[in-house]
Amino acid sequence: MSLSYDEWAASLREGTLLGVTCADCGTTYGTPFSVCNECGGRDLDATDLPEDGEVYSVTTVNVPPVGFEGPYQVALVQVGPARVTARIADDDEVDIGDGVVLDGAMEADDGHPAPVFRRA
């Protein structure tokens, strides 16, 4: 049974970042999918992603959408075999290649959580 969004979000709120690994081809994603985009497999098992990661790319958003107050950093973080889109903790500033560690989750005003990383 594939990982649902609600399970991914609940786990993140409890401090664990889950991805999924395709039982057929071994591809790991940082977010759930119902079907593997590599091989078409439907058996995508929940996988604990490591807490330690590395910044793959990052930007500082100075002009935020309504519901957010800038500036803040959004990054693509490499966590083991997968990447996730995440916020960097306030008061931290990171660049590509920096080591980061999972620091829980933030919640936007619509209730959807996002992973937060801080400098390792």
Binding site: P64, P65, V74, T85, A86
Partner: protein, 388 residues
């Protein structure tokens, strides 16, 4: 092989418009009718693009409403939505329908209003644009569209040494071209320093690295290869490639490669039986300066990593060896989301007819348009040629 032909092209100025969506679209559509020399009785179907009217203006089911506005109530009409690639997708479907013999002559185009004329401020419009990013895995981080392209561009800079100065050259070049386009939102002398000294929106992008919020409309009359001969100045569509890439950004194996663009370009060139080298110029989706650099590599104008230096060396300027965005591009011409893709085909049509005035690419016979949507999730690439 010709798949369909463009026999009429029209667009409004891009900028700020007070008129309704319907009236704005009609301005472009009537231009296209007149250019083709057709009336409503000649149009068999309507392929229409609008990305955000439901969110921005509480206006949906727009295809029949706009068909009625331009006198073709009764024909099959449908709306396409693929974020910023909206009207290129409409164009692709129109070309396919004509090629397949389903319709003889199709009106295709798009309209959007993105300026404060909608009643929405920057923060609200930024949120609506961000609705094209992944709802669960991107939007909750507060990622914006400048942010999406900043993440791609920052990695491109890391991999290849692309610099902020090289990015700024893209803006300088497109503003210079925009000065020569009477329908452009912007166009003025701009220096690299002007770009680098403007406020940072999402690093590495300064305000002058970003396209504006614009209102506008574009329209085309597309007909079959056989019928095109009875019109003045037809131009032939010989390839339309359309590809998607995995969303969210975090799942893309090599985000800065913009794989959908590479796949769409390969498809378009293969259909047209040409290579990138045969293109006399390109209109590409330069919503941000970094997007033009990545697009210029994805469509094969420059080797990977060479897009930045090529811009700085003037190779993509109007008088360079690989001109890109003679119209001024999204950066200077403007970016009314749902009108952008068809407007690129308007520019190709005028250039290939030799009607582009001060911004004419000398002797242009074959050109390519690249229209990207969402977080590099959709790209449509079209090859258009002078009728032989």
């Amino acid at each position: 092989m010709t798949r369909a032909s463009v026999v009429g092209a029209g667009m409004t100025t891009f900028g700020v418009h007070e008129s309704t969506l319907a009236e704005l679209f009609a301005t472009a559509a009537l231009d296209a009718y007149d250019d083709a020399g057709v009336g409503p009785d000649d149009v068999d179907a309507f392929y229409f693009g609008n990305a955000m009217g439901g969110q921005t203006e509480n206006d949906t089911h727009l295809a029949p409403k706009l068909a009625s506005e331009v006198g073709i109530a009764g024909v099959p009409a449908q709306r396409f939505e693929d974020a910023c690639a909206t009207s290129a997708t409409a164009f692709k479907n129109a070309v396919q329908a004509v090629e397949a013999g389903i319709h003889d002559t199709v009106l295709v185009g798009g309209v959007e209003r993105c300026t404060p004329e909608t009643g929405l401020g920057t923060g609200e419009m930024t949120r609506i644009f961000a609705s094209a990013s992944h709802r669960q895995y991107e939007q909750p981080t507060g990622l914006t569209f400048p942010g999406v392209f900043a993440l791609l561009t920052k990695r491109h800079m890391h991999e290849y040494g692309t610099t902020e100065e090289q990015l700024a050259h893209v803006a300088v070049k497109n503003h210079a071209n925009g000065q020569r386009n009477p329908r452009a939102h912007f166009g003025r002398e701009l220096t690299v320093e002007d770009v680098l000294e403007s406020p940072v929106v999402a690093d590495p992008f300064h305000l002058m690295d970003c396209c504006p919020f614009s209102d506008g409309a574009s329209a085309l009359v597309v007909t079959s290869d056989e019928r095109a001969d009875s019109y003045d100045d037809p131009v032939d569509v010989t390839g339309v490639g359309h590809a998607t890439d995995i969303v969210p950004l975090s799942a893309k194996p090599v985000p800065h490669a913009t794989q959908a663009a590479r796949d769409a370009a390969a498809g378009a060139y293969e259909q047209a039986d040409v290579t990138a080298d045969a293109m006399d110029f390109a209109e590409v989706h330069d919503c941000f300066t970094g997007a033009e650099v990545m697009a210029s590599e994805a469509i094969g104008f420059f080797e990977d990593g060479e897009g930045g230096p090529a811009a700085a060396e003037g190779r993509s300027a109007l008088d360079g060896d690989r001109p890109i965005n003679p119209s001024g591009g999204l950066k200077a011409k403007g970016h009314p989301i749902g009108a952008t893709g068809a407007a690129q085909i308007v520019e190709l049509t005028e250039q290939l007819r030799g009607d582009a005035g001060d911004r004419q690419v000398e002797g242009a016979e074959r050109a390519v348009a690249h229209n990207l949507g969402g977080d590099a999730g959709t790209t449509v690439v079209s090859v258009v040629e002078v009728r032989s």
